[in-house]
Amino acid sequence: MSEDRIALEVVGLTKTFGGLAALNGLDLRVREREIVSVIGPNGAGKSTLFNVITGLYEPDEGDVRLAGRSIVGLKPHQIVRLGIARTFQSVKLFPNMTILENAMVGQHCRSRAGVLGAIVRTPAVRREEARIRERARAALAFFGPRLVGYREEQPAFVLSYANRRRLEMARALATEPSVLLLDEPTAGMNPRETLEMRDNIVRMRDELGLTVLVIEHDMRVVKGVSDRVVACDYGRKIAEGSYEEVAHDEQVIEAYLGRRAVG
C-alpha cells in the first residue's frame, strides 16, 4: 500500500468573482489516506476551493486532478461518482426526508435502476434497493447509535445541530468516496461534540481509509486531526507543513491566528 500516492491534486487554481480573485494560483496536493487541514481567514478562498473541486464552480485557470485524472469541467454529480464527497459549512440536509433517506440519497450515484426498472420493479431493482438501504444504514452507524434505530424514520429537521452535522457526514460517506471534503465540521458545536467530531475525522482515515481535506477554524481540531496543514490567504497558499510549523509561521499569525491565539 503506497501511502505516498497522490489522491487529489490542485494545480495553479484561479477563480475570480467580478474582478476579485477568490483563488489565485493555488497549489495543493493531498496524499492517499492523509488528513489535510486548510486554514485561513474568511474570504481566503477556502470554500471556493471546495466548490471548484466538487464542480460547483468552474475554475478560470488551473486543474484539479483526482488520482491523476483531470476532473475540471465535470458536473458535481459526476465528480461525486468519481469518488469525492463533501459537507457544507452551513449544514445542508434534505430536511424533510427521513434520516435514512438522506443517507440513501448518498447511495444514488452507486445505483442505476432506471425508469422502466422502477415501474416494473424487477428483481434486480429490488436487490439494488435493498443494497442501497443496507449501505446507507452502515454509513449512519459510523456515528454510533445517534442516527440509527427508530431515528432512521424521523425527518432530518428534528435533529439537533450536532446530529445534523453528523448526518451530513454520513450522507457523504454513503456516496462511498475516496476523498472527503469537510467544510468546518465542528462549527457551532460545543466542546464535547467538537472533541467527538475530531475523533471521528481521524477514524475516517484510519478505519475507512479515506483521504480527508478539512476546512476548520477551531485550532484544537486542526491540531488534533491534521497530518498536514495548509494556510491560505487571498486565494494563495501562504504556508504548508505540520501543525506546529504552520502555527508558528509569521505570515499565518499575521493574517489569521493573531498573537493571542498562539500564546
Binding site: 481567514p41 474570504g43 466542546p191 464535547r192 477554524h217 489569521y256
Partner: protein
C-alpha cells in the same frame, strides 16, 4: 447543572434601576415552550453576556426583547416601561438596537446609506450628523469607505459598519447577536476590540455569544441559559471560575 440562582444580582448595582429587564418571561412557539420564566436585568453602562448552546433559547430571548415574539407570560421593560407587546418599530424607536448575527448589511447600498438607515427613526438631522461623525471617529477605516457599496467591504469592515449602524440609532441598549460567529481567530480578536471600544463610549451592551471565553473576558456579568431557562447568573469572573461552566462551555475537558 443546578446552581443557586440567588448569586444572580450583582451587589454593586443593586441600588440602580435596570435599563432593560425581563420579568418572568415565558415564550411559546405554538404549543412548544421555548423560554421558561426568564428573569434578566441589564443596568446602565453595563455589558452583560448571554451564553448558551445551540437552540437553548438565546436567539428567542433577543427576538422577545425586540418584539418579534410576544411573551406568553411576563414582561420586558425598558427604563421601567413595559415594551413587550409593542411592535418592533416602536421598541426600536424607544431605544433598543441590535447588531445582527453575520452583520447583515444592505450590500447593494452604500456604507453611508447603511449608517443613515440606522438612524431611520430619528428626525433630528443635526444630531444624526453629529452621531455619524462620532461613529466615523470611532471607526476611521469606515470613513474611507463611505461611498462604497457595503457588500464590497471586508469582513472586519463590515462588522464595524454593522456596529456603527446600530450606534446611529443612539440606543439605550445595544444588543449583539453572536458577533464572532464564523469568523477567523484574528477577526474574532478584532471584533472584540471593536466591542471594547464601543463599551468605552459608555454604551449598555447585551451580547449573545457562543465564544464564552471571549465574551466573559470583556463582560461585566453573564447569564447562562439552557433549554429556555436561566441556569446560571453571575459576574463574569465568577462564571469563568465556575467549574461547571468550564466544562460545558469553556472547552476544558
Amino acid at each position: 447543572m443546578s446552581v443557586p440562582l440567588d448569586a444572580a444580582a450583582p451587589a454593586a448595582t443593586a441600588d440602580r434601576r435596570p435599563v432593560l429587564e425581563l420579568r418572568g418571561v415565558s415564550t411559546h412557539y405554538g404549543l412548544v415552550s421555548v423560554l421558561r420564566d426568564v428573569d434578566m436585568e441589564i443596568f446602565p453602562g453595563e455589558m452583560v453576556c448571554l451564553l448558551g448552546g445551540n437552540a437553548s433559547g438565546k436567539t428567542t430571548t433577543l427576538r422577545t426583547i425586540l418584539g418579534y415574539v410576544q411573551p406568553s407570560e411576563g414582561q420586558v421593560l425598558l427604563d421601567g416601561e413595559v415594551i413587550s407587546g409593542l411592535p418592533t418599530v416602536e421598541i426600536v424607536r424607544r431605544g433598543v438596537s441590535m447588531v445582527p448575527e453575520n452583520r447583515r448589511l444592505f450590500g447593494s447600498m452604500t456604507v453611508r446609506e447603511n449608517l443613515l438607515l440606522g438612524a431611520y427613526l430619528r428626525t433630528d438631522r443635526a444630531a444624526v450628523e453629529a452621531d455619524l461623525e462620532r461613529v466615523l471617529e470611532t471607526f476611521p477605516r469606515v470613513r474611507e469607505r463611505l461611498g462604497q457599496k457595503a457588500g464590497t467591504l471586508s469582513g472586519g469592515e463590515q462588522q464595524m459598519v454593522a456596529m456603527g449602524r446600530a450606534l446611529m440609532a443612539d440606543p439605550k441598549v445595544l444588543l449583539m447577536d453572536e458577533p464572532s460567529m464564523g469568523l477567523a481567530p484574528v477577526l474574532v480578536e478584532q471584533v472584540f476590540e471593536i466591542i471594547r471600544s464601543i463599551r468605552a463610549l459608555g454604551r449598555t451592551i447585551f451580547i449573545v455569544e457562543q465564544n464564552a471565553n471571549m465574551a466573559l473576558s470583556i463582560a461585566d456579568r453573564g447569564y447562562v441559559i439552557q433549554t429556555g431557562q436561566v441556569v446560571l447568573a453571575d459576574t463574569a469572573e465568577n462564571l469563568l471560575r465556575n467549574p461547571l461552566m468550564r466544562e460545558a462551555y469553556l472547552g476544558e475537558l
